[in-house]
Amino acid sequence: MTDNQKLIDPDYDYDRAELRKKLGAVDELPGSAKPNPILTVDSITRRFGGIAAVDVDHLEVQKGSITALIGPNGAGKTTFFNLLTGFDIPDKPQGGAAKPRWEFQGRSLVSTSAYKVARTGMVRTFQLTKALSAMTVMDNMLLGSQQQTGELLSRSAIWPIWRGKEKVIRAQAEELLDRFKLLEKKDDYAGSLSGGQRKLLEMARALMSNPAMIMLDEPMAGVNPALTQSLLGHIQNLRDTGTTVLFVEHDMHMVRFISDWVVVMAEGKLVAEGRPGNVMQNQAVIDAYLGSHHDQDLGDDAVLNEDFDTAIAEEDVELAKAEEAVEAYAESVREKEGDGD
């Protein structure tokens, strides 16, 4: 056993049925407390201009679970990820509001830079895959390790110091690449891989440091359907071998299929939490996700006429007003010019 391998954590629910039983006892309310949270977030906000991209009061992520973070486009899921992983900084609390606080494995990550967050064992991937395309697949993997002291400038030029470690890391990388079916590509440039393979590579690279938690930002985006199944398998396998998973996803089938717990965001806030089967039935989720008219047939003239005719009429009035204003302004300018002459 090398230091790269994960130790058995007595606190971790390797048995999934056990985990689901525990989560079954949790209230299905936004911000509900979990029996054994690995990540706790409090009062985190981020505004862009006047819009609150993220405004989360409280969230706990159960250790050992696959938690899905879902929500419509623009719900703030990626911004939330960026905040947690140090790629973005939350706003300072206004007035008497509580300070943002978030803890990972009991350790505060407030104002921690991104690289330090990664070193605590919370590693992320990106929505737009960041494979280092002008480097080989193997080099990508080797970069993922945090064990290589040859990365220090002072030791880099003296290769006997780091050569031994390099072998160990390389073996670990080959094992992971084999698991992700990328081993025969190890000497290819990452830029030559397909979109799905890049996703796999990014995930495998993140696993090189044996993180306690992996945060996947849309792992299925742009992945060909044939690869989807194997990716799902990998994610479940991760959980079973001791890595908590938090992921952002649009694909509802996937969410239902693999997650133990679902958190729903809309307009920056948590609107619902629960087991995947139940949360999809939640009215707040359906409204946030599909719009409150999702069950009405827009082909039905009754719905269409009512909504659209009023809207068009209102727009016409506004337009007429705007045109009048423009005309009046043009008139005043013309008058002024006349005075000038």
Binding site: Y115, V123, S133, L143, E202
Partner: protein
């Protein structure tokens, strides 16, 4: 017009260019630039500034103390401080800022060097003549102090000025610098640099302190620049205007010609660059009658041709001669 004379002359010039200390100083500076631009993706447009810092630090110190090693230490420390001053405010920002700051800083150094108020130290626009600081270096020479030595058509002093001694030291330094850069960029440290060149955020997400790595890269490449500056002025004299923007762009041409992000690219590129320059100069001088192009116009035409060559190079073979098309330092 004897064609035999043309070829003899051309190949003699090729030889002296390859032996030249100035060529060696270009190679060393280009190796530094390669660490910045080729491996880390830092767009440093002020490598000449690093050379000038090294040149002034060395020449002024030696001029007043006559201590060669103290001069070298001052030059290197100066380059480190210069790199930190440029890097600390800009390396956390996007790459473009570094480009703007480096080109401006290099110009500031040059203009300060030109300033007449500082003439007692820097010599102002006249610079510092080589004789003011080259003696302690000559004193280190194991070769005879006085006299000339001839190999074939090349006749240089043993030790004084632009000498054999300086040539031996300069090209040994080139070998050492190539070895150092080889060891550095093939190491895990170099791997992190290449990762940063590809995508900073990805490397950050893997737990590497990107800002520290970029600062280290800037400092190390700058140190190569300072060494190049010392070598360069030992052969000539310190003159701020000789190390301006043009020099930086020449270095980029050398680097891109040989191949950025390769270990031997700077060496090969610098050789080729100078050989092409000499070839154009000699050929235009020989074949184009002086009624069409006067002697003074030839260098200018040469520059134009080199500029066009650089454009063609970047368009048609951006990876240079040794580079791998898949590992481009720019573009995608």
């Amino acid at each position: 017009m004897d064609i035999g004379f043309y070829f003899t002359n051309l190949f003699t010039d090729f030889g002296s260019t390859i032996l030249s200390v100035i060529t060696a100083s270009y190679v060393i500076a280009a190796i530094g630039l390669n660490i910045h631009f080729g491996f880390t993706g830092l767009l440093n447009i002020g490598q000449a500034g690093f050379m000038l810092i090294g040149a002034y630090g060395f020449a002024i110190t030696v001029r007043f103390t006559q201590n060669f090693w103290l001069g070298v230490v001052v030059a290197l420390v100066g380059a480190v401080l210069f790199a930190l001053a440029l890097g600390l405010p800009t390396l956390k920002l996007r790459g473009d800022y570094l480009a703007i700051v480096t080109i401006a800083a290099a110009e500031i150094v040059r203009l300060i060097g030109d300033n007449q108020l500082l003439a007692p130290f820097t010599g102002g626009t006249f610079g510092i003549p080589g004789s003011a600081f080259s003696k302690p270096f000559a004193a280190l020479s194991p070769l005879p102090q006085i006299g000339l030595f001839q190999i074939g058509p090349y006749n240089y002093p043993f030790t004084e000025g632009d000498s054999w001694w300086l040539r031996i030291v300069a090209w040994s330094l080139v070998a050492v610098c190539i070895a150092i850069s080889f060891l550095l960029v093939r190491s895990p440290w170099g791997r992190v640099l290449r990762g940063i060149r590809e995508d900073e955020d990805a490397v950050r997400s893997l737990g590497k302190n990107v800002t520290v790595y970029k600062t280290q890269s800037l400092v190390i490449g700058g140190l190569f620049g300072a060494v190049a500056g010392i070598v360069n002025v030992l052969a000539t004299s310190v003159s701020a205007d000789a190390m301006g923007r043009t020099l930086t762009f020449e270095l980029y041409t050398c680097l891109l010609l040989g191949g950025a992000a390769t270990v031997f690219g700077p060496l090969l590129g610098t050789f080729l660059y100078w050989l092409v320059l000499v070839f154009l100069r000699d050929s235009i001088g020989f074949w184009v009658p002086s009624s069409v192009l006067s002697q003074q116009q030839i260098p200018q035409v040469t520059w134009i041709v080199v500029g066009i060559g650089l454009m063609l190079l970047v368009i048609f073979r951006p990876q240079g001669i040794l580079g791998n098309k898949k590992e481009l330092a720019f573009g995608d």
